[in-house]
Structure formats: structure tokens, C-alpha cells
């Protein structure tokens, strides 16, 4: 059961137009305390507009936007959030420590400087001018600025763009630490593995509407297929005709089979070819589910 006090942010039937273009077309979104919500969608889906509305950067044309039960344009609501935007050119001549002190000064109970720096892994950068940092380092500094105010809700818009794998893993760990402290996170990302690794709930948007909402597993269940790959000389046409096989195709020496009952198909496959080798079975990932969802949407639109 969720009482209203568990809700930290809410979009309610929100419509937002830019001139003749409808960026958001009746979006409902509820964010609970302590959850990490990933918002996925192709470019132009309305992710950034949704975040902009929740940050009070613009007003909706219809519907309601709430941040901690208040209007996001109220400063008291924004004192409880941290923000990392996709593109913000921070003053290049200021040192990292100075930036951190500046942003901390906006909050009532900020973290100690060293604590913020350690959480974001930038303790060694504090004396460096921001403009002299690499792209990945700048992103880490922006992350430190987002968490320095001890926020109850963190907005991260494509946080790991431009980071190497190591830095990305560190950021993921920092996000997990924050969520463990009870902080809610709204994360938009293009990297589906990021959503898969972190999110408790995933919202898929396209063309200004929410297409699907649920746990990572529930989203995966949209595509109930598994993929089997193996080296075999079985006939493709024959395998395609087996029950439970959705499709089969040949890639050189390999056969690729899609099925919703991999156990049964495997049994028959192994019986049929004793020489079968290099067997791989893979469940459809978020990527497939996402492609499937957004493709359906495009197909519908084209049909309409």
C-alpha cells in the first residue's frame, strides 16, 4: 500500500506542446520514495520534457505536476532535489572545489565537501579548474554537484554519457549507495544495460506517451522469447516447422532459433543432432523488449 506521503514526484495527465508539436500527450507518472526509476525512449520521446516539467523549468499546458506535493517552481520543493542535466557548460575557470561549495550553499543541510567528493570519486580533482577536465571527469563533477545537497530525489539525465566502463561502474555503485540511503532517483538513459543493472521500475516512452511501465522483468515479459544459437547441420526449414519454434535462420555454420519454450526445443535439438556444439541460450534482454515496444508504436502510427 502506498500512502500519498510516499509519493515524491508526480505527473498527472500532463500535456506539453511546443508550437504545433506535442511533446507530451497525457503522461501519468508517479515516483515513490526510495525507488530508482529509469525512463527509456528514443530521442524525441519526451523524456527531457518530463524532467524539465518536474524541475519547474516550464509549465504544462494541461495536467498537474507535483514535487513533494508542491509546485516544482517553489524553491522549497527544489531544495530537496539534486540535478544532473544532459548539457550544462559550467564555468571553466572555477575550480571543482569552488563549484561544489557554491552548489552546496543553495541547500539547507548539505553534505560535507569531502563526503560529496568521495561519493562521486572526485577527491583528487578538487583543486583543478573545471575547464581542464576530461568529459568523463566533468560528468563525475556534475554528479557530485547533484548529490552534494543531500537530496531526497535525484534527477540524472543521461548521466554516464562519455564515461569509460570503469567510471560508469563507479557511478552505478554511488547511485546504489544513494538509493540505499533512501534517496529516490529518476534516471534517463540510452544504455539499456544501465536500466537493467539499476532500476526497480522502468518506464518506456515514445512520441510523448508512456508505452509501458513496470519492473525490468515485467518489461522483458513483453518479449517472451529466448534465443538459441549453436553449430549444427540440421535443416533450417525442418527446424522452423517444429512446434514452439517462432523462427529459425542460418548464419554460416550456426543456426539461430527464437522460441518461447527453450527447454522443449533444446531437448529435441540435442536428440536430433548428437554432434551439435557451441550451444548458447539467451533470454531476450531489455534491448529486445525495448525495440519490440517502440517498433509496435511506429507500426501503429504508420498504419494510422
Amino acid at each position: 500500500m502506498h500512502t500519498s506521503s510516499d509519493v515524491v514526484a508526480r505527473l498527472c495527465g500532463v500535456v506539453k506542446r511546443y508550437g504545433g508539436v506535442t511533446a507530451l500527450d497525457g503522461v501519468d507518472l508517479v515516483l515513490q520514495r526510495g525507488e530508482l526509476l529509469a525512463v527509456l525512449g528514443p530521442n524525441g520521446a519526451g523524456k527531457t520534457t518530463s524532467i524539465g516539467l518536474l524541475l519547474g523549468l516550464m509549465r504544462p499546458d494541461a495536467g498537474r505536476v507535483e514535487l513533494f506535493g508542491m509546485d516544482p517552481q517553489q524553491i522549497d520543493a527544489r531544495r530537496r532535489i539534486g540535478v544532473m542535466l544532459q548539457s550544462a557548460m559550467l564555468p571553466p575557470t572555477l575550480r571543482v572545489g569552488e563549484l561544489l561549495r557554491l552548489v552546496s550553499s543553495y541547500y539547507p543541510h548539505p553534505r560535507a565537501l569531502d563526503e560529496s567528493a568521495a561519493l562521486a570519486g572526485i577527491a583528487d580533482l578538487l583543486q583543478r579548474p573545471y575547464g581542464k577536465l576530461s568529459g568523463g571527469q566533468q560528468r563525475r563533477v556534475q554528479f557530485a554537484l547533484a548529490l552534494c545537497g543531500r537530496p531526497e530525489l535525484l534527477f540524472l539525465d543521461e548521466p554516464t554519457v562519455g564515461m569509460d566502463i570503469d567510471a560508469r561502474r563507479k557511478l552505478w555503485n554511488a547511485m546504489r549507495t544513494l538509493v540505499a540511503e533512501g534517496c529516490s532517483v529518476v534516471l534517463t538513459t540510452h544504455y539499456l544495460e544501465e536500466a537493467e543493472a539499476l532500476a526497480q521500475r522502468v518506464v518506456v516512452m515514445a512520441k510523448g506517451r508512456v508505452l509501458s511501465e513496470g519492473s525490468v522483468d515485467a518489461l522483458r515479459a513483453h518479449v517472451p522469447l529466448s534465443r538459441i544459437r549453436c553449430v549444427t547441420d540440421l535443416d533450417v526449414a525442418a527446424v522452423s516447422a517444429w512446434p514452439q519454434v517462432a523462427s529459425a535462420e542460418r548464419e554460416g555454420a550456426r543456426l539461430r532459433i527464437s522460441t518461447n519454450e527453450p527447454e522443449n526445443v533444446l531437448r529435441r535439438l540435442l536428440d536430433a543432432d548428437l554432434a551439435l556444439s557451441e550451444l548458447e541460450v539467451q533470454r531476450a534482454g531489455l534491448a529486445e523488449a525495448f525495440t519490440e515496444l517502440t517498433r509496435e508504436e511506429t507500426a501503429e502510427q504508420e498504419a494510422a
Binding site: 506521503s5 524553491i75 527544489r78 540535478v83 550544462a88 564555468p91
Partner: protein
């Protein structure tokens, strides 16, 4: 399941309440970083400081050195006004245009920065830069130019410079709301240089055509020039009228700029 209900509202209000001391601290931190970042940017500070001081040295001390103390005193005001305009126009206009383009303004609006801290910080930065320019010009005039000024005159000149930058901050802000990014410096020079000339900062108005003299009062620098001359005892016109005109200009520019910022961001 969740039988324990937590009273959310009282906690919430205490969490986000900010003590007055911390709010003032935020304003100070904003102003401090705004000053620091520009003082460290030679591309911004050097032209602002060098142009008026070089012009005064060259066209004042060197070329008109024999013309007498009153000429150098007059030129001190002219180049002072010229020097005060640029931190206002460029400090506000260029930075606003770049920061609207680069997303810094959006970022700051999303943060719980206290209202107005952004503009106040820039204003303070422009006032500090204006003070530096006036002090340098005074130093040149008093030493190399052998201009004699009383202490109250020096203080009045400094005050005129520091407050006189404000209408140009408002004008810079207005231009900054019309232009995004790299186009701003060029556009601002198109405002800055002709306006300086037409207000009689380079060539005394008396030597310019009658038409130019007649329309001079529509330019803000003309009024600041008159105030500066009055501060150094060279003009005894209606100080209040010039002051009111500058206040009016600043008010109108600020009003339009603030409206545009709120509408278009």
C-alpha cells in the same frame, strides 16, 4: 502491511526550511564565484581594462597633455564612462547569451538557487570591474596627467562609475536575451561603439554636428557623462534629471529583459 504511518508534512517542512544565514550565504557564494570566474578570464578582463586606460593615456595624457588640466579632467570622465559601459554590457550581455546557449542558465534555474542571486552576482561582478577601471583611470590622471582633484571629487567619480554601470548591465541583459551564443560580442560592439561616439565620449559633443548634439539625450551614456562631469565640477546642469533618466533607462531595459527571460528562458 505498512501499518506505521509517518507524519510526512511536518518533517517535510523542517527538512527544506533554510535558515536566513544560509540564504545570505548562498547569495554571497554566488557573487563570489561570479567575480572569481571573470577575474580569472583574461579574455574578459583585459579588453575591459586596457581599452579605456590605453585611450586615456594616448588621446589624453600624450596627445593632449599640453592642453591643460581641464581637458585631461574632461577626458578622464569621457573615458571613465566609456570604460564603465563595457563591464555592464559585456559582463551581462555576453555571459547571459553564452549561458543561455550552454545550458548553465537552465541548470541554475533547476537548482534551488535563491531568486535573483544569479543576476545579483553578475551585477556585483560588473560593479567591481567598473571600480577597477575607474581607479586605474584616476591613478593615470592624478599621476601622469597632473589632474588635481579633491578627495570628495575622487569619491564621487568612483561612486558614479560603480552605480553608473547598472543601466548598462540592464542594457547588456536585454541584448543577451535576444542573442544566443557566440554572436553576442559582435552585436554588443554594434551597440557599444556607436553609442559611445554619439554620446560624445570620443569627441566632445560641441564639436559634433548639430543633429548629433540634439539626439544625444536619447543615449544613456550621455547622461552618465553629464553626471561624471558634474562630479568633477565641470558641469552644473540638472543632476537629478540625468540621474532620473538613467534610472528610467535601467528600469525599462530590466523590465523588458526580465519579461523575455521569463517567457523564453
Amino acid at each position: 502491511m505498512n501499518s506505521v504511518s509517518i507524519p510526512a508534512t511536518p518533517i517535510a517542512s523542517s527538512v527544506s526550511a533554510m535558515s536566513t544565514r544560509r540564504v545570505i550565504g548562498a547569495y554571497l557564494a554566488e557573487a563570489r564565484s561570479e567575480c572569481l570566474r571573470y577575474m580569472r578570464a583574461p579574455g574578459f578582463m583585459l579588453p575591459i581594462i586596457l581599452f579605456p586606460t590605453m585611450f586615456y593615456l594616448l588621446f589624453g595624457v600624450i596627445m593632449n597633455g599640453s592642453a591643460g588640466a581641464d581637458t585631461l579632467r574632461y577626458l578622464l570622465v569621457s573615458y571613465g564612462v566609456f570604460g564603465v559601459m563595457s563591464p555592464g554590457l559585456f559582463g551581462f550581455g555576453v555571459s547571459l547569451a553564452l549561458e543561455r546557449d550552454g545550458g548553465l542558465l537552465t541548470y541554475k534555474r533547476a537548482l534551488p538557487m535563491p531568486p535573483g542571486a544569479y543576476l545579483l552576482g553578475k551585477m556585483l561582478m560588473a560593479m567591481v570591474a567598473a571600480a577597477v577601471v575607474i581607479l586605474l583611470l584616476l591613478a593615470i590622471g592624478l599621476t601622469l596627467g597632473h589632474v588635481t582633484l579633491s578627495l570628495p571629487q575622487v569619491a564621487l567619480m568612483l561612486l558614479t562609475g560603480i552605480l553608473g554601470v547598472l543601466p548598462f548591465c540592464a542594457l547588456g541583459m536585454l541584448v543577451g536575451t535576444f542573442i544566443k551564443g557566440q554572436g553576442a560580442p559582435g552585436m554588443l560592439n554594434l551597440v557599444y561603439l556607436p553609442m559611445s561616439f554619439l554620446s560624445g565620449l570620443w569627441v566632445p559633443l560641441g564639436m559634433l554636428p548639430k543633429a548629433v548634439q540634439q539626439i544625444a539625450p536619447v543615449w544613456p551614456p550621455y547622461h552618465l557623462h553629464q553626471l561624471g562631469l558634474a562630479a568633477l565640477g565641470l558641469e552644473h546642469g540638472s543632476v537629478m534629471m540625468h540621474f532620473a533618466m538613467l534610472l528610467g533607462f535601467a528600469g525599462v531595459f530590466l523590465f523588458i529583459a526580465a519579461r523575455r527571460l521569463r517567457r523564453y528562458g
